[in-house]
């Protein structure tokens, strides 16, 4: 278990494009982190740099203050679970779990005890003597995870989209196991995913990435309430945040024709402004009005698409009798209205 620090880390592959733009980041010991972003945003690159499969072009990687940039993968004592289950096919489940300890020349009785304990915890005890290839995909992922857990001193467990190939039913179960294990073993865990749901439910801190850049790192709550950019606002939350082009008039910023407005900070530029709010933050009744253009049923809730003036936006409301074409009155509290300039959060 270790604190992981990335100092001025950057990476570019041979062709000159920056897979990872320079960044500084510290991941505390025992924390759960999620790297969230679309495919090709650099999250897997970052993971491979931490595990040592890739050498960064710039910057250092530190585990508990120790520079490990030049150490190879084995010496870093990292466990990684890949997207597609990787297991040693020539071995049984038990041999798979024992392998990292065998490689590290741990005495046999100790290995046996450790493997049995971890197999018990992961529910693999029954399968210890089965051939690992015979197991299902989610059990194979558990073996991958188990190979990390058998090492008591493992620095961190890196999860590279481990749930992608798992059945939806098992996904939920496996995610719960991961979370429980994090709590029990107090492991530093880093999950790479493009699924916001997975990221927000798993991690204490979510790191949103795009084009090789960290756009925002914060708690799920922070990402939801105060997205640093319009990109984060669109990426996180379902339905996405409402972004409405706005103009500055004196000391106020307003969306023309929609009636939405808030006070403008003193040094605010006059162009490229956007007002934004979460569909969840709209409250029923109030000075604003829009025509319902579409309704999505979501159980106790419904999402209404409204046209307000020239703008179209979505609000979440308690399921009711609204029909397409009806006029709906609503309001957005001032403290829920975010202001963006050139796509970045201003206030």
């Amino acid at each position: 278990m270790a604190e992981i620090r990335l100092a001025k880390l950057a990476h570019s592959y041979g062709n000159g494009t920056n897979a990872l733009k320079p960044l500084d980041m510290t991941w505390r010991d025992g924390g759960t982190y999620a790297l969230l972003g679309p495919s090709g945003c650099g999250k897997s690159t970052m993971l491979n740099i931490i595990s040592g499969l890739l050498k960064p072009s710039e910057g250092r990687v530190l585990f508990d203050g120790q520079d490990v940039t030049d150490k190879d993968t084995g010496a870093r004592n990292i466990a990684q679970v890949f997207q597609v289950p990787v297991i040693y096919r020539s071995m049984t489940v038990g041999e798979n779990l024992a392998f990292p300890l065998v490689c590290r020349r741990v005495p046999t009785p100790r290995i046996k005890a450790r493997v049995e304990a971890i197999a018990e915890r992961l529910g693999l005890s029954r399968h210890l003597n089965s051939r690992a290839v015979a197991l299902t995909a989610d059990q194979k992922q558990l073996i991958s995870l188990g190979r990390g857990l058998v090492r008591e001193d493992v620095s961190a467990v890196l999860l590279d989209e481990p749930l992608t190939v798992i059945d939806p039913q098992m996904k939920f179960e496996l995610r719960k196991i991961l979370k429980d294990i994090n709590r029990e073993f107090r492991l530093t865990m880093v999950l790479v995913t493009h699924d916001q749901n997975e990221a927000l439910t798993f991690a204490d801190t979510v790191v949103v990435m795009n084009h090789g850049e960290v756009i925002q790192a914060g708690t799920p709550q922070e990402l939801f309430e105060r997205p640093a950019t319009t990109h984060v606002g669109t990426f996180i939350g379902s339905p996405a945040m409402n972004f409405l082009p706005a103009v500055r008039e004196g000391d106020r910023v307003l969306v023309p024709g929609a009636g939405l407005s808030r006070t403008a900070p003193a040094d605010l530029p006059t162009t490229d402004l956007t007002l934004a709010f979460r569909p969840e933050h709209a409250v029923a009744g109030g000075p604003l009005a829009g025509t319902v253009t579409r309704i999505w049923f979501e159980g106790a809730d419904q999402v209404l698409a409204l046209s307000v003036g020239d703008a179209s936006l979505r609000i979440r409301a308690v399921a009711g009798a609204e029909t397409v074409g009806a006029i709906v009155r609503f309001d957005v509290p001032q403290d829920c209205l975010r202001l963006y300039h050139q796509g970045r959060l201003v206030a």
């Binding site: 040592g52 190879d72 020539s90 490689c103």
Partner: protein, 280 residues
């Protein structure tokens, strides 16, 4: 409909089996015939259609006008197995390196180097006869088992490299990365993780090496005189002005016997699921 399909299937298999088994049967009956039996038309049933004779088999084991096949058989076994083991060992190591690490030699990259290995087999063997002869002579290894083993390694290694590069390319790289993470170095990764997964490939490569090595006549003939004789050369020396079909048939059976055994062993291994699930 289903029975018809089944019947046709078995008919096809029966026809094919007859096609395959017939030459063996022919060789087997001929090996127990004398000159009269051979020229008396196609006959199959001993004692009824022809009088069986051990003449053919006797001439293989020091009989009159024959040879002794034991020494050449032993020589062939030693040369083929040694050369195959060396080729597979070196070839597998080379193939793993070519599959996993990046090499540059002048303008050549991995694929060029792999092709360089295979290109050794594209050349007609006759081109190599004189160079090999001169090389073995300067080493003092002409007409000796070590000399033949050396030459056969040169001939068999390309096959091993070729088969194994392809096989290692099919073993996912993620397995190597996982092994590094679990604390393996490149050598233990190869030995403990990749090689057990490549076992079917080893079997296939080994089979090819043994077949090619065992059957080679050309180099066994051109690089030896009288001391070191391999089985194919010994069999040819049986021939005389009157072709002794009976001894040649017996010799043919002796020379294919090890390959038949090999075929059964390999078939067992492959059908047991050795190949199944080896690669994702």
């Amino acid at each position: 409909m289903k029975t018809l399909y089944l019947a046709l299937k078995y008919l096809a298999i029966a026809l094919w089996s007859a096609f395959v088994v017939f030459p063996f049967l022919w060789a087997l009956t001929t090996s127990f015939k004398s000159a009269n039996g051979v020229t008396g038309g196609a006959t199959w049933i001993p004692w009824v259609q022809y009088e069986p004779s051990l003449q053919g088999w006797q001439s293989l084991f020091g009989g009159v006008g024959g040879i002794n096949v034991v020494k050449p058989f032993y020589n062939s076994l030693v040369v083929t197995l040694s050369a195959s083991v060396i080729s597979i060992t070196l070839g597998t190591l080379a193939a793993y390196a070519l599959s996993r690490f990046t090499f540059r030699f002048l303008w050549m990259r991995n694929s060029d180097i792999t092709f360089f290995f295979i290109s050794q087999r594209i050349m007609p063997p006759i081109v190599l006869a004189i160079p090999f002869f001169l090389m073995l002579r300067s080493l003092g290894l002409l007409d000796s088992l070590p000399g033949l083993i050396l030459v056969y390694v040169a001939l068999l290694m390309p096959i091993a490299v070729w088969v194994m590069v392809d096989f290692f390319n099919g073993v996912p790289r993620g397995l190597d990365e996982m092994a590094w993470m679990d604390g393996c170095n490149p050598i233990t990764t190869f030995w403990r993780v990749i090689l057990p997964n490549a076992l079917p490939g080893l079997v296939v490569a080994g089979m090819f090496c043994i077949i090619f090595g065992w059957n080679d006549f050309f180099f066994a003939f051109t690089l030896t005189f009288t001391e070191t004789q391999l089985l194919p050369v010994a069999i040819v020396s049986l021939n005389s002005s009157v072709t002794p079909w009976w001894s040649l048939s017996a010799a043919a059976l002796v020379s294919i016997a090890p390959l038949v055994v090999l075929a059964f062993v390999v078939e067992r291994f492959l059908s047991k699921g050795g190949l199944a699930g080896a690669v994702r």
